[in-house]
Every structure is written in C-alpha cells, then in structure tokens.
C-alpha cells in the first residue's frame, strides 16, 4: 500500500465542510474552522502534542483548486510556436478551464508511526481519546460527522474521508516517535558530554561516562527524554 513506507503512514484526509453559518458570529462554517485552527497557534503548544505517534501534521481549508495560465512547458505549447498559422480560436481554446468546488474541505495531512500492521485505525482511535474536544470543535462543521459518537466511529469516518497516496517518501526514519525523541535527547546530551569532558585522565573520563549513562538511562523511553513538540531548551 502506497500510504505506507516501512512503519510510517501518510494520512491524507479531506472532510467536506457544510455550507452553513455560525449564527451568533455571522461567519461561514469554513471560516469558523479556520479561526479555530489559527487559535491553536496561540496556545502554549499544539493539541497534537497529546496525540501519540504523530511525527508531523498540518491542517488547512481548501476553498478551491487553483487554475493558472502561465506559459506551459509541454510539447504542444512548443509546437504552437512553430506553427504561426494556428488560429486565434484554437490558441484561446487551450486556456485551462476553471473548476469550482461545491464544498470547502478541511484538509488534515499527517505523517505518523503505525508499526508493521500498517493499520491507521489504532492511531485514529488514539487521536480521539487524546483530543476529542478539539476534534469535535472543528469536525462538527463537516458533513457526516454528526454520526461520530466514539473512537471507532471517528476512525471509520476519517477513513471514509481519506485518500490514498500515490507515492510516499520517508526522508527521515520510521521509528516509533518515543524512540526518535529519546535518540534526539541522547544526541544532544552526548554532544554536551563530549565537549565538557575533553582532556581528562582516563579514569576520570570513565567515571564521568558511567555517571552520564546512568543519568540518560538510554533504555528508558519514558524519561529522561524530549517531550513531543519541545521547542525550547532549558
């Protein structure tokens, strides 16, 4: 399946937003969704920090596709230059058409760790359990979400809104997120250790190293480590 690369999964969700208006605010549902998502940027950190195994994810609202009409680089574009006899009506006829979507779509695109099963449902159930109020605050404006009552319902709904990737490229790695965060913590700490322990007698260096390994507890994923979304250093 092309959504899967190793243990990493590319989730692409387009949920159609209803055309209604939020009565007391007099704004369209799509703009309300936009406003809530922008509000998440004002919080101490993203609600997605609480969703296990999320490497990176994004939300936006798709109002319409774009149609631009710059000169193209296709073969026919070039041939038209060689044939000055191509009539004006034919030249105009190759202008791109203008598509208009009938619904606006909430786009949720995430790169997550799912493990060897390749099943996205457990991730989605975990997302519901972690941030149900935030999920409801934005998806309530989407078609079909009224029927979502629990984690299984959410997982099923999102999978109905999901689109398969044609190609998924993992340029990083597909380890579980706690493994990645622990490794980043270790890398940061060991870089500091190497700088701070230069030129010491071997016995001292060795003792410091033992203390260092005890402190960083490399096999303990829970702590000490970097918490998801950590953006400041002490």
């Amino acid at each position: 399946m092309s959504n899967l690369s190793g243990n990493a999964y590319a989730l692409t969700v387009l949920s159609p937003i209803k055309p209604g208006i939020v009565a007391d605010e007099e704004i369209a549902y799509a703009d309300k969704v936009r406003s809530i998502l922008l509000g998440w940027n004002e919080l101490k950190n993203s609600p997605m920090t609480a969703v296990p195994q999320t490497y990176l994810c994004r939300y936006f609202v798709l109002d319409n596709p774009y149609t631009e009409s710059l000169p193209g680089g296709g073969a026919l574009d070039t041939i038209s230059d060689w044939l000055p006899v191509v009539p004006d009506w034919l030249r105009r006829a190759v202008m791109p058409a203008h598509d208009q979507l009938k619904s606006r779509y909430l786009v949720f695109s995430a790169n997550v760790h799912v493990g060897p099963s390749g099943d996205i449902a457990p991730y989605l159930r975990g997302m519901w359990q972690a941030i149900r109020p935030q999920i409801e605050s934005i998806w309530q404006y989407c078609y079909g979400f009224d029927e979502v009552k629990d984690a299984d319902g959410f997982a099923a709904y999102i999978q109905r809104c999901a689109l398969p990737a044609s190609l998924f490229f993992v340029g990083s790695n597909d380890e579980a997120l706690p493994e990645q965060l622990k490794a980043l913590y270790i890398k940061q700490e060991f870089a500091k250790f190497a700088v701070a322990n230069q030129g010491l007698p071997t016995a001292t260096l060795r003792q410091h190293f033992r203390d260092f390994m005890t402190r960083i507890a490399p096999h303990e994923l829970a702590a000490p480590t970097w918490e998801p979304g950590k953006y400041r250093l002490p």
Binding site: L37, K44, T49, S69, P96, A97, L163, F169, E175
Partner: protein, 220 residues
C-alpha cells in the same frame, strides 16, 4: 497562517491534471515505487522529513453524506505535501538543481507545468498553486531531518561502545572512546531553536513579553 513549525516548513501544492492523463501519472508513481533506485535523487535531498503525492480523480473527492453536493470537475488534481528544513527558496531551488528530470517526470502531465528549469517560471508555478497551512505541528521543532537520522546513529553507537568497553582496560576504553568520537563527527552537534521556532512559540513568547511589560499592548 503557520507554514513553519520549528525547523520544518509545510508545503502544500495543488495542481490540475487532465482526467485522461491521470493514468500516466499513476504509472510513473507506481514505477517509482516498484523501483526505489529512481528515488535516489530524493534521498540526496537530506533536508526532507516526509513528502507525498496524492492524485484525486475528478470523481474521487470524498463524498460522505447524501446531503453533500457531488463535485462536478473538469480536471483531476494532484496534491503534493512536503515537510522540509530550510527556506522555501532553498527547497524549491534544490529540486531544480538536484533532480530536475525526476521533478519533471512527476509533474509532466499537470496543466501548464513549466518544467523545473528555468527557475523563475517554476517558482511562479509553485507559488501560484501553493496553499498555506493554518496549523502545523512538528513533534521535534528543534531538530532537522538530518538530526533525526543522526540521533539514531549516535544512540546505536553509544550503546555499542558502552557494551563493548564495560570490562575493558582503561587504555582500551580511552582508545575506543576516541574512535567513537571520530566515528560520530558527522552526527554530533548541538540543536538550538531557530529564531522563530514555531508560530505558536512565537505567539507565546510575544504574549509573555507583553505581560512582562516589555511590549506596548497596542502592538500585541
């Protein structure tokens, strides 16, 4: 708008494809998937965390409720999502300079794709078709893709070293320790926040400064 989360930039690009050439694009992606050596160029662009291409047929926009109107579109669409480190220009230019043929292959059948060389028309094409992200979350805003990859190496080599030197003499320990540092020269290095780690972090810090009386409230 929040296209930036720490050291990652979120790019979303939507481009139209004629419905009758969608199969060609799908064949190209299928061939790339079956033959990973074709992605070697992408791998050299080590600034990428994750990237994906999604083709939506003109009748394939999700339809989840009977009351939702069905789309009636002339074109199919290709969505491209990327998470990369560095600036927009660095990323788009690195595509042009590192893998122009691969890029042309993936976008070849998209309407009015100008090819990746020369730069200016390509920049205009991407910018015109790019959609801004409203909320972008990154689990490791302090790290680049290379940091994530090298952290795995550092951890593995550190554990190997620890296991191999527990019973060794001091001389051996010192020799192996120096070897470890030499081996890890490309992988070690401190990670620090970028000037704007994320829009949310920026907002939080700005609010804090305002509360501390260091900012004029009217400019908040």
């Amino acid at each position: 708008m929040s296209n930036i989360a720490g050291k990652a930039y979120a790019m979303n690009v939507i481009t139209p494809i004629r419905w009758y050439t969608v199969w060609l694009n799908k064949v190209i992606f299928w061939a790339a998937l079956k033959n990973p050596s074709t992605l070697k160029g992408l791998i050299t662009l080590s600034l990428i965390h994750y990237a994906r291409w999604v083709i939506i047929g003109r009748n394939q926009f999700p339809h989840v409720h009977p009351s939702q109107p069905k789309e009636d579109l002339k074109y199919a669409y290709m969505l491209f999502f990327s998470n990369f480190n560095g600036s927009w220009d660095q990323y788009v230019d690195s595509f042009t300079f590192a893998i122009p043929s691969g890029l042309d292959m993936f976008w070849k059948w998209n309407i009015r794709y100008p090819k990746s060389v020369a730069l200016t028309p390509f920049h205009k094409y991407i910018r015109y078709n790019q959609l801004d992200t409203l909320h972008y979350y990154n689990a490791y805003p302090l790290a680049t893709s290379n940091d994530v990859k090298s952290a795995r190496i550092v951890k593995a080599k550190l554990l190997d070293f620890d296991g191999a030197t527990r019973e060794s003499s001091d001389g051996e320990f010192a020799r192996e320790y120096r070897k470890l540092l030499r081996d890890l020269q490309h992988d070690l290095g401190d990670m620090y926040p970028t000037p704007i780690v994320s829009m949310s972090a920026y907002q939080v810090e700005r609010r804090q400064r305002w509360h501390d009386g260091q900012l004029d409230g009217s400019k908040h």
